[in-house]
Structures are given as C-alpha cells and as structure tokens.
Symmetry: C2
Subunit: 231 residues, 2 copies
Amino acid sequence: MTQIYNSECMIFVEEKDFMEERRISKAVIKRLPRYYRYLGEMLNNGVERISSGELSSKMQVTASQIRQDLNNFGGFGQQGYGYNVKYLHDEIGKILGVDKMHPMIIIGGGNFGHALANYDFAKRGFETKAVFDVKPELVGTKISGIPVMLMDDLEDFIEREKVEIAILTLPKSRVQEVATRLVNCGVKALWNFAHLDLDVPDDVVVENVHLVDSLMQLSYRIVNDDSNGMG
Amino acid sequence: MTQIYNSECMIFVEEKDFMEERRISKAVIKRLPRYYRYLGEMLNNGVERISSGELSSKMQVTASQIRQDLNNFGGFGQQGYGYNVKYLHDEIGKILGVDKMHPMIIIGGGNFGHALANYDFAKRGFETKAVFDVKPELVGTKISGIPVMLMDDLEDFIEREKVEIAILTLPKSRVQEVATRLVNCGVKALWNFAHLDLDVPDDVVVENVHLVDSLMQLSYRIVNDDSNGMG
DNA sequence: TAGATTGTTAATCGATTAACAATC
DNA sequence: TAGATTGTTAATCGATTAACAATC
C-alpha cells in the first residue's frame, strides 16, 4: 500500500500499489467454476456472445454480481456487445489454472480411490498418475489404466513425476501422518476426502470434501422445512 | 411480524411473532456439522465441559462467532461455566436432524454408487435402503448388504420404504429426468453428484457435490499462490 | 447516431467481530 | 462473594445489489 494524494476530496487515501494483486474473496472463487461450466456448455451449443443479463437469468444470479465478479480479474466484455463466450470461457479457464496439466496421485485404493481413479478429470487439466495403497496384492494392477503403487515408493514417485496434488481417500486414523509426509516432499495441494481437518503449513492448499457435513446440511434443510413465511 | 411498543426509546419496533422461527443464514448451517464433529470427538475423549474460548482456539474460529451461531437456536450454555459437551452435541444433532433415521436410496450403481453404498452413513442417521441401476445383471446382487434394484421398481419402493433422500450418481445426461421422477413420487431431498444444476420445485432440497468445481477451486489456489502480502 | 451493455462507483444489505451487562 | 463466561447489543467489516456514466 502507498498513500497517494486524491485531489478530489483533498485527503490522503490508501491505494493499491501497481502490480499488487487484489485479494479475491472466497465467495468469488467459489462461483468461478460454475461460470466456467455454463460458458463451456454454451460454447458446445454454438453460442457466440452473451450479455451479463442473459447469463444472469440462465444462472439465477444477478447481472451485477456477474459483472463485479469478472471485473476482479479484468474487463472481458465490451460495452454494447456483451461477452464473447469462447474468450470469456478460456480466460476463466486460465484464472482457474485448468489450461495447464496438474499431475495428481490418489492415496488410498478403496472404493473412493477407485471411483476417483475412474473419473475423467484429465479433460479438465488434472492427470492422475498413480494410486497408492498399502496392500501389496494390489501392486502391479491398474485401475482404468492408472498403475497402483506401494506407499514405499511415494517420495520417489512424487519427485520424478512432479506431482502437485494428492487426493486423500484413506481412513481417518492415517490421513494426518500421510499428509505430513506429502507436504515434506513438496506436494502443494491436498484434496481431502477424510472427515477430519488437516494440520499443514500455511503455504499448502487444502480443499476438503466432507461428505458427511454435506449430508447433514441436507438433513438440516429437510427437518427445518421453511415453507412458512417468505423470509 | 407484529409491531410492539418499546418503552425504552418510545418508538414502535418490529419484533418476531412468538413461535415464528428466525431465518438462519446458510453460513451458519454450513458451520453446524463442524461444531457437531468437534463436540463428538471431545465427547469420545471424555471432555465434559467447554467454553466458547477453548472451542474457538481448537476450531480456529472466533469465540464470538460460536456464541452467535449457537444463540440462533437458543441458549445452550451457562454463564461462568461454558457448555456441557454432551448436551450441546446432542442439541446440535437434533437441529441437524441426525437424531432421526432418514431412509435413502442411491441411484446409479457405478463406482461412486458403490463407494457411497459402502460408506457407513447409518451411524449418523442415514440408512441406505437400496441401490437402483438400469443394468439387469446387477439385480438381486447386494453391495455391502444393500440390495440392487431395477429402476422399474423405483416408485413402488420409495412409497413402501418412505424414502426421503435420493443420492444421484448417474450420468449427466440422465439425471434431470430421474430427478423429476423422484420429485413426482414425493422424495424431499436430492444429494446430487452429477456435474449439473438440477431444476426442481422450490420445496425440494438439493445439495450439490460438484467434485470438479471443488478441484478447480483447489487449482485456482495453487496457481494464484498468494504467499505475498498478509492480505 | 441511437441503443445496448459494460465497467465502476455508490448504496444497501448481511455477516462477523467486539464489547459488555447479566448471571451462574 | 469474586471470577468466569455466557447471551446479546452495538460496531465493523465485507459482499451484494443498484445505478449510471463511459463507450462500443
């Protein structure tokens, strides 16, 4: 931050330094993948341009919010025209980092590990390089083309393949220990499916998928059915 | 709402009618399962009482927020003492509706359907009654004790077993059609794993688990590494 | 040019944090 | 009782919505 002189109101105001990025709120980041998805679908349907107003009614958010969200990252539209669908889609892709490949590994060869290995994340910029498990009988097998490896090879493999993301689908009791091991050998991001909050350094990114929490929110809304009043 | 007389400041203010529930914000509801989880763990560890201050440092949220959140639902604590862990845990359980059993079905017998069928949601108040699939060869088999059934039996089964929740793990192309079918025979809540926003009546509860969106948020945070500045 | 629609500032709304009187 | 800690009101902060000048 630098204090710069604002001639308009004759006081000093704080302004961002040139080149310093604005802090983007979590709420905005959460909405980006949804914009990306809708734009991707329009692109598939051959839609060329879209206004914030049209997108607004499709997505059930205000046009104002769409314009505000996008302008956190720059002006992607054109007055009187709107947004070019392909351009905007690709730009959001770059913001999200899905224009680059991110090497991933899955830790835990159970049901969820299996399901995630079969999921085609590759088309969105995420390539699953291996599934790690403790059971020696699984080693050498493949899950939809992805090799299963032993935990002994973890550190070597991560270094060799420059793994960025680890998907954690192991039992609660073993997750923290493995997370620490991963962090120690340079994994930047953990996608955590265990029902547990991980303790990792600040520079490591953790995204939790707490299914039980999600189901409980669903349950809350069933039980506390607010059909009364318009709130 | 009723206008009641406030003697203090000599004006009329709006007050909630007796029995009318306050609208609870989504942010609060989202935090409840986490409180429930931490309290459950303390309970297992034999902790009897906890203050908002202690819980605050354990959970990395402000004590103020904890007290505000809880007081949306009533006063569960005692001045000078704090909160009784078991009591608070059970009360939040009731608020979330996990004190009652919720009959569920899974639609889609693929990898995710399998993984979810194997997951023990039952201990948290959710009982999976059946897995539905289109493949006739699966019918009659069981997935960890849960029978696999044909889609033809869907409506009958839902009525007979009073199914409340349907877990949707089918291909994108078929989800909306099935969702509509479920809503038409009285299912109250959909737990949607398809990467698609469902169109259902307002009184039907939808909770989305958009894994790709979650992964993209992770990706955003890797790419836009904000190690600079303290924000 | 006139009409449309953005980018952006200002106004509003809601959520979080701070403060403190009530009370166990 | 004195100390602790809640419940709750007030202050602050941030996010959403509205409005409109800029401009294609």
